[in-house]
């Protein structure tokens, strides 16, 4: 059994409990042991874009440091993954920032970016293997047309995240195939859901999320899956569409026989 450090992040303990719960039970069934670091805190949130500000790196570096001795750090929320992986990428290329962070956190030696960060999907692809996953599926989504929704930040910036082709990705489609479903390719799968604009302007958020849902529906999707709590919120609450939206971990758990039917 391989042991990884698992960083859930704040939303997964409040609004997105399903994303978290099914990620953990599925990992166990797949022979992956996920260990949460003690006293974990916020990933660093949306501050990541302030590149020169040391304060924006500290939180993510704490998490990265906690995973230093394990096989890697696994995140599942798109936003946490984005913040932590980008910070790791940036800091590994910036010696002066390494020193600043070392002084700020009073570290014995500087953190230089040694931890490998995986998104849960990358773990499925690169550690478990989709073929292997396929062999463990007991309740395949046979005949189900499933649309993968990447959103804007699961794959971008592609240089730092190095996960998949940001304009024509395949990792979620391959996941859908592994759990027996039929992936639906649609134009809006890697476009923005509206994000935080829902707090300011519901109209805009509804326009964006509506476009995503329409695009998926027109392509014949029966359901849509995502890895991002905010995307799920926008697609469900703001789009005005009735197309069911799930976290990909829910379908994973169901396919592995660990969850009741989610196809209500």
């Amino acid at each position: 059994m391989q042991t990884f450090t698992y960083y859930p992040g704040c939303t997964l303990r409040t609004k997105a409990k399903d994303l978290d719960l099914y990620a953990r039970v599925s990992a166990e069934a797949l022979g992956i042991s996920l260990v949460e670091p003690e006293n974990w805190q916020c990933c660093g949130g949306a501050y990541t874009t302030a590149t020169n500000e040391v304060a924006t790196k500290l939180s993510a570096v704490r998490t990265l440091m906690a995973a230093k001795d394990s096989e890697g750090l696994i995140t599942v929320c798109s936003a946490c993954h984005n913040v932590i992986k980008q910070t790791n990428y940036d800091i590994s290329r910036n010696e002066s920032m390494q020193n600043k962070v070392r002084q700020y956190l009073d570290l014995g030696e500087a953190y230089t970016g040694d931890t490998t960060v995986y998104h849960y999907l990358e773990m499925l692809r690169d550690v478990v293997g989709f073929e292997n996953l396929k062999s463990k599926v007991v309740k395949p989504f046979k005949g189900k047309k499933i649309a993968a929704y990447y959103g804007c930040l699961l794959l971008r910036p592609s240089k730092a995240l190095a996960m998949d082709n940001p304009e024509n990705p395949s990792i979620m489609e391959d996941f859908i195939k592994a759990i027996g479903g039929t992936p639906v390719i649609y134009a809006q799968r890697n476009e923005c859901c509206g994000g935080y604009i829902t707090l300011e302007d519901k109209n805009q958020a509804s326009k964006r999320s509506g476009a995503v849902m329409d695009s998926a529906e027109n392509a014949g999707a029966d359901m849509i899956i995502t890895a991002c709590p905010l995307c799920l919120y926008n697609l469900k609450k703001n789009s005005g569409s009735s197309l069911p939206v799930y976290y990909f971990t829910e379908l994973l758990a169901e396919a592995l026989g660990l969850k009741e039917d989610s196809n209500e």
Partner: protein, 663 residues
């Protein structure tokens, strides 16, 4: 005792503004051996040269130092002047006080000091200069043209016209290149095939021209005037001498599903094929990747139907060796692969095509017989969006930094042709800038906008999304109106950047020519020697040197031919006497020099030497072929025993210069 003359040039204000030239002349006049030291406004002018010539005669000079611009600029000028005054030209040294001094410094005092030091170094060197005499080397009166597109064809025709033998090596089964795939040409809209195919035929019928189609250059040895080239004639499994080009085999071959590269994969060809009707040579070729007979020994239909008995499944690659005096590179270009541009949906939407694919879709000999139809459902497109600069002018690392130059014009051409033929089709062109310099080019583009009502919109396309109803949503920004646009299109055409052919880089290595970071061949001088490479005897023709349209390509092709003819006209060429030689007494035969020599100029001989006590010994020593040596100096640095030395740049001369600078 040496009698050295020093001549300091002002170069107008190029040198004199930053260097106190009078002070330099004064200071250098006090150096040992210097008998005259003068300054003058333009030393390269006729009166400046006369100053040098007169001084040589009057003061019986044994050496000349000219403090002026780079030796690349005027070394030859002053060498000639010296020669005409009776001084061996290799007793002239240039101290570069312009490019390496006045142009890069601002402070007059320090620049003057540096100019004096550079002058002293040259004086120190000229003290040790020895008269050198050039040798002559014969010129083989035959040229090689690598690449059989319009550039290569034009070059070959011009060289043949001048009466010299010329061989074309083309890697594809036919000559013609990209121009053969093009439908119409800008800005006159005449049919590309109508003007190209007569030239192809002319090339094949010209007695002086030999076409090696389906062939590649596999090795190049030698030097200007005397190259030895090995040409690999790839197995085409058809005897070229027997095949009549009747095409029966290409109709009967049961393997029908081979992507047709001539039509950009938009339709299929057979495993045995002739690329297009006007192919030259019109000879069939068997594709071993698809031929059932070659793959698993079952079929043989082509062999049965061939009345000429030309099919030969046992054919293998053949190699021919030939000597040439000059080589012209005409390897051309290709559109880039668009796999990094998935925002334009090219990889998964058949109705998103490249401009070259559109050429085939509109060509009468193309997959639709000249009717423009959507590749997906063969329906007539009513709205077409063109996206310019796909991969050109990119600084994000995905594409090319340069402008591909031809796209603005061919896009205007496509837009105009579509509006002309299908007036019910709306055409949009998204551009960053429209660049149309060239004779009648801007008028052509204005016509597309004003007469044909093509919608030109300044702005880039952000996303191309195929929709479930078969339409394509094109999301773009209109920068002038400051708006986001959504266009409901039927087809999208991408003007992909162009890049040099992949064969160019290995070829450059074989030819020891230079390339830039984009793999375009580098010309010897960007303004004054645009069709020559820096390697003597290698000339550049067409888009292998940089993006070019057809008129420019043809102009450069003829220019390259003229340069090659100029070389072939000579019975012999003067060799550079600054070549390496080996001191046999010091050489220990270690082979270090041979390994670093890029020209293969060094060989080894066993020679008998007198040893102490009246004995003799046979030792292996290096010897340099002066006709092959290019004087690069690599061997002199590599030689561990100091036996290798370079005429005109001997180790002692270089050290004298260094000493003078460090004094």
């Amino acid at each position: 005792m040496q009698r050295i003359g020093v001549f300091v040039c002002h170069c107008g204000t190029n040198i004199a503004a930053t260097v106190d030239v009078k002070a330099v002349a004064e200071a250098l006049g006090h150096e040992a051996g210097v008998v005259i030291s003068q300054d003058y406004q333009y030393m390269c002018s006729e009166s400046g040269q006369n100053l040098v010539k007169n001084a040589i005669k009057e003061h019986k000079l044994t050496g000349v130092v000219v403090c002026s611009c780079s030796p690349r600029m005027h070394e030859n000028t002053f060498r000639k002047a010296a020669a005409s005054a009776g001084l061996n030209p290799y007793l002239v040294e240039i101290a570069n006080i312009r490019e390496q001094c006045s142009w890069i410094h601002k402070d007059i005092a320090s620049a003057t000091e540096k100019a004096i030091i550079l002058g002293r170094a040259a004086i120190a060197k000229v003290h040790l200069n020895t008269p050198l005499t050039s040798m002559e080397s014969p010129v083989v009166k035959r040229a090689l043209v690598i690449g059989g597109g319009i550039a290569g064809i034009q070059t070959a025709l011009d060289i043949a016209e001048a009466g010299f033998e010329v061989d074309i090596v083309e890697k594809e089964p036919t000559i013609g290149g990209k121009m053969a795939q093009i439908d119409k040409t800008f800005p006159t809209l005449d049919c590309a095939a109508c003007i190209l195919t007569p030239k192809m035929v002319e090339a094949s019928q010209n007695e002086k021209i030999t076409i090696h189609s389906f062939s590649e250059v596999s090795d190049v040895k030698g030097f200007v005037g005397n190259f030895t080239v090995t040409i690999k004639k790839k197995a085409r499994y058809v005897d070229e001498t027997k095949c009549t080009g009747c095409g029966l085999c290409t109709e009967k071959c049961p393997m029908k599903k081979v992507p047709n590269e001539f039509n950009m994969g938009l339709d299929n060809r057979r495993a045995v094929y002739i690329p297009f009707a006007q192919a030259v040579p019109k000879v069939a070729t068997i594709d071993p990747n698809y031929c059932m007979m070659l793959k698993n020994g079952k079929c043989g239909v082509c062999s049965k139907v061939c009345s000429a008995g030309a099919i030969d499944y046992k054919q293998t690659d053949r190699f021919v060796e030939q000597k040439y005096g000059a080589i012209v590179v005409a390897t051309g270009f290709n559109p880039i692969k668009l796999d990094k541009y998935d925002e334009f949906a090219y990889s998964y939407c058949p109705d998103v095509v490249t401009s070259l694919e559109l050429e085939r879709l509109m060509n009468a000999a193309g997959p639709n017989g000249g009717t423009l139809l959507r590749p997906s459902d063969k329906t007539h497109p009513h709205t077409i969006v063109f996206v310019q600069c796909v991969g050109s002018r990119c600084d994000d690392g995905k594409g090319k930094q340069y402008c591909s130059k031809i796209c603005c014009m061919y896009t205007a051409k496509h837009a105009m042709l579509i509006r002309e033929k299908y007036p019910d089709t709306e055409v949009y062109v998204f551009y960053i800038d429209v660049r149309t310099p060239g004779k009648n080019f801007d008028e052509f583009y204005r016509r597309a906008v004003e007469q044909y009502n093509v919608h030109y919109i300044k702005g880039m396309v952000g996303k191309v999304s195929p929709k479930a109803d078969g339409k394509i949503d094109v999301q773009a920004s209109d920068l002038l109106a400051g708006e986001q646009l959504h266009i409901n299109a039927d087809m999208v055409v991408l003007a992909a950047a162009i890049e040099p052919d992949k064969t160019a880089r290995p070829l450059a290595t074989m030819l020891t020519t230079q390339m830039d970071t984009n793999d375009f061949f580098t010309e010897a001088h960007p303004k004054l020697r645009p069709v020559e490479s820096a390697t003597a005897g290698i000339f550049l023709s067409g888009a292998c040197q940089g993006p070019k349209d057809i008129p420019e390509t043809v102009a450069q092709a003829s220019a390259a031919a003229a340069k090659a003819i100029g070389l072939l006209c000579k019975n012999s060429i003067t060799c550079n006497p600054c070549v390496a030689h080996s001191d046999e007494l010091m050489c220990n035969g270690c082979s270090a020099c041979e390994k670093v020599c890029p020209y293969g100029a060094i060989t080894y001989q066993d020679k008998e030497f007198r040893m102490p006590n009246r004995t003799t010994a046979v030792r292996r020593v290096a010897s340099v072929n002066p006709a092959v040596c290019q004087g690069c100096g690599a061997c002199t640095v590599a030689c561990p025993s100091g036996a290798m030395d370079l005429n005109g740049f001997s180790n002692s001369q270089i050290m004298a210069e260094v000493d003078a600078i460090c004094k």
